[in-house]
Amino acid sequence: MTDNIKLIGKDGLRLDGRKADELRPIKIQAGVLDNADGSAYLEWGNNKVLVAVYGPREAQPKYLQNPAKAIVQVTYNMAAFSSDERVRPGPNRRATEISKITAEALENVILTNQFPRASIDVYIEVIEADAGTRCAGLTAASVAVADAGIPMMNMVSSCAAGKIDGQIVLDLGKKEDNFGQADLPIGLVARTGEIVLLQMDGHLTQDEFKTALKMAMEACKHIHGLQQEALRSRYAVNFADMDDGEAEQ
């Protein structure tokens, strides 16, 4: 109905002054919660996300246990006040889907076979939402899992590209998400190039898709650096040991 909203100005800049391939400001902090085994706080534009991680601990109830490996359980939740319209407490279908794909992305990198019958529980609380919360949540969750000392092969980094005013851009903001033409959130293992989360909705030609996917993958690599930085400043040690020599990047 409001496709006539202009999202890119004559100067080629977006509503918030960003260039097409520019991320919003991102701030990540590890180890912010006292009771959790691992935790992280992330600000990404106006997104604000807290993540708590518990585990590996015994999976409860017992029928959930997998005798061969740990299960990864993610609960993504938007706080009641995290959105213009109040979010009714309790699970909904959107949150259920995001929890599922986030768990599947993390399962890819966590060494779950070291912990049979265990559960690794990740609680993602979006306390302010500004488009892109699933990417923010997955990015923060990776840091929190690392903060918990849970063995991972790599961290997952997450970011979206999309299309607004017919142009491929990185990291849609709230208005761009509402009035744009496509959104492509991905989760990437930056070190290996493995895509572990991939969703898309909207309208992309094959060429547009390729451009968008590459743009999002590049951004994930940058975000990976921020994640490492957050862990480094938390532990104030060379992070090389933990992330398998990735620190030089």
Binding site: I101, E104, L184, E194, I195, V196, M200, D201, G202
Partner: protein
């Protein structure tokens, strides 16, 4: 589905076949199972279709009733898509509230239809800001043998293409066809180690590291994608899958349009 274990030896067999471009049912890796369908078998539905894709058997019914529009879209109809994976379809499914698996199916099917703008929602406005048609798309799985995404999408698209707005029943004028514009279709892959297979059976799904679905419109453009399961895709995997999907949906679409 409750954790259904498939023996390692079975998995290996499926993988070894795939390495030789073969599958349990003699298909090639990029070949879908035989499709049969029936349209408007359910008299009480405004539109319906039953689709069998191999042994996967799904029934979709469309119901419409007047309702209120969303405040931010005062002159548009509303689409509500539901899916239930019930014990009838497979002993691993349980009764009760929709599982996360069934929610994912409903949301991915919904996304393909919604994002392709298949339904002209503005034509489903009765009185702006007050009354619109609500379109309920209910996916009932009858027998589950893998790849609900494609089967449910085909059945949904067929049911919508043959659905009638029951205006007269509500004293809202003459009945008219649900205004639909195109044929969004999906192709679903699994990845076994390094190999991609389309339209997986249940055994193949249970052996898979990853599932990937792409929804494609009449122009061959992409409208929705969804990666599932714990595995990963490379950039090249994705591009290759999209190529295959474009070809397969093109063929499927022309077949469905011809009513074959």
């Amino acid at each position: 589905m409750k954790r259904t274990i498939i023996p390692e030896i079975k998995k290996e067999m499926i993988y070894k076949l795939a390495q030789r471009d073969c599958r349990e049912d003699d298909r090639s890796p990029v070949e879908s199972r035989p499709l049969t369908y029936e349209i408007n078998t359910i008299g009480t539905a405004e539109g319906s279709a039953r689709v069998k894709l191999g042994k996967t058997d799904v029934l979709v019914g469309v119901k419409l009733q007047p309702g209120e529009p969303y405040p931010d879209k005062p002159n548009q109809g509303v689409l509500m898509t539901g899916c239930e994976l019930k014990p009838m379809a497979h002993p691993g499914f349980e009764s009760g509230a929709p599982s996360e698996e069934s929610i994912e199916i409903a949301r991915v099917v919904d996304r393909g239809i919604r994002e392709s703008k298949m339904i002209d929602m503005e034509k489903l406005c009765i009185e702006p800001g007050k009354k619109i048609w609500m379109v309920f798309l209910d996916i009932q799985v009858i027998n589950y043998d893998g790849n609900m995404f494609d089967a449910a999408t085909i059945a949904s698209v067929l049911a919508l293409h043959n659905a009638i707005v029951p205006a007269s029943r509500f004293d809202l004028g003459d009945d008219f066809p649900v205004p639909v514009a195109c044929w969004p279709l999906t192709t679903t892959f699994i990845k076994l180690h390094d190999l991609l297979l389309v339209d997986p059976t249940l055994n193949e799904e249970l052996s898979a590291d990853l599932r990937f679905t792409v929804s494609i419109d009449d122009n061959g453009d992409f409208r929705a994608m969804q990666k599932g399961l714990k595995g990963s895709l490379t950039y090249d995997d994705v591009i290759r899958a999209l190529d295959i999907a474009q070809k397969l949906t093109l063929g499927m679409r022309s077949r469905l349009i011809k009513g074959e």
